[in-house]
């Protein structure tokens, strides 16, 4: 029984304070990725396919502020937390989401894992990503990102 309690405590702590997955090309929230069959990758980026998240930064900002208020998270850091990922042919965010973090002077930095996890959870609530097709009608995936600009522990803006 004691061992069971210990395992539960360790698991809970690892969720709250554990590290992201570090690979040679960066830090990730997850690593597996399953491509949708027939969904081709022509190395497109959001900017060449009109793929910015289709609502203004201020609308998304209001949504994330409400979301974080409900989670009752308190912290005081400033900086940028960026999630980079691919959007598949059905307009869904694929796994293997890279996370980049800097302080407000753009120097590498690590926010509390709980903060990163909550912002990642919010990111997964964004369901209106554009579905992109080529001129011939072939569905294609593209690379996109969302950055949360944080000032004194509050999300202050959304990029792009």
């Amino acid at each position: 029984m004691k061992h069971l309690i210990l395992i539960v405590v360790v698991l809970l702590c690892s969720k709250l304070y554990g590290q992201n997955i570090t690979l040679p090309d960066g830090e990730y929230m997850d690593t597996t990725s399953a491509a949708v069959p027939g969904c081709k990758d022509y190395n497109f980026y959001y900017y060449s396919v009109g793929g910015k998240y289709p609502q203004s930064s201020s609308t998304t900002l209001k949504e994330v502020q409400v979301y974080l208020q409900q989670q009752s998270i308190t912290f005081s850091d400033s900086g940028y937390i960026t999630f980079r990922f691919k959007i598949d042919c059905e307009g869904k965010m694929m796994q293997r989401v890279q996370v980049l973090q800097t302080d407000e002077n753009y120097k590498p930095y690590h926010f509390n894992k709980t903060v990163v996890n909550e912002l990642f959870a919010f990111l997964q609530t964004l369901h209106h990503w554009r579905i992109v097709k080529t001129k011939t009608g072939d569905p294609v995936l593209y690379r996109a990102f969302i950055t949360f600009k944080i000032k004194y522990g509050k999300v202050d803006n959304i990029i792009p």
Partner: protein, 281 residues
Amino acid sequence: MARWIILFLSIFFGVQNGAAQQATGCDCFNAKIKDSLVKHYLENEHMHDYNSPVWQQYCDSLIALCPNIAVAYQIKAIPFIKYGDYATAFPLEDKAVELDPKNWTAYRGFLKCIFTKDYEGAIIDFKKAQLLTPNSFEMDHTYPFYEGLCNLELGNYTKAEQNLKQSILIETNGKPNDSSHIHFNTFLYLGILYYEMKDNAKAKENLLKCLARYQGLPDANYYLAMVYQRENNPEQQSKYLVIAKEWKLKGYSLSEDNVFYSYYPHQVTLYEINKALGVQE
């Protein structure tokens, strides 16, 4: 075995020294040589895709040859700034500014204003740029124009108003009544600013001036509709929202080169227009 290692190291360091001599042999302070190097390394037919590894290789080659060429760092940073890697992008931008502040300080301010929404940082850069290259332009706009956008977003409305009026003075070369040279987005942001300041009359005046130059600009139509909403004029509100939606659906937008990469301050999308029209997504 030891002899072979010594021989290998001697050859290796010999080659390295030769390369360094070749690099130092190049006069990196000669303007003509610098121009020709930039043309050769940064303006060749291979430099068309900034996400290609070739892009970085050409930049790195030029930096290795002449580490004092500012534009090499700025060009190298492009793919990073556009895909959210600020820890890589900004040291490169900082290096470009350090080497050539006259050319790159305002550009870095622009990146902070439009890309990373670091409005305080952008204002600092634009103030420095104004001292270095007074009354110049960056990406089609004056430095006070961008300061105005930053102060608008920071809620410093009085300062924003001063900035945008200063921009008009520069745009018209000191003749603000000659409005033919004023950019429609200067009027747009003055209109948005007065909307935020709850000065409906001035908001309408400036948004209509903007629309006189670019009648379909969705953002100007949207904010004009918002002014009419505040005035409890549902007919005019609906009229301008419908126009905003029509032009948005035709693909019209702020008409800024970098609008593909980042939303501009206060920019709206079809989502906000539909929401104001009461259309469920």
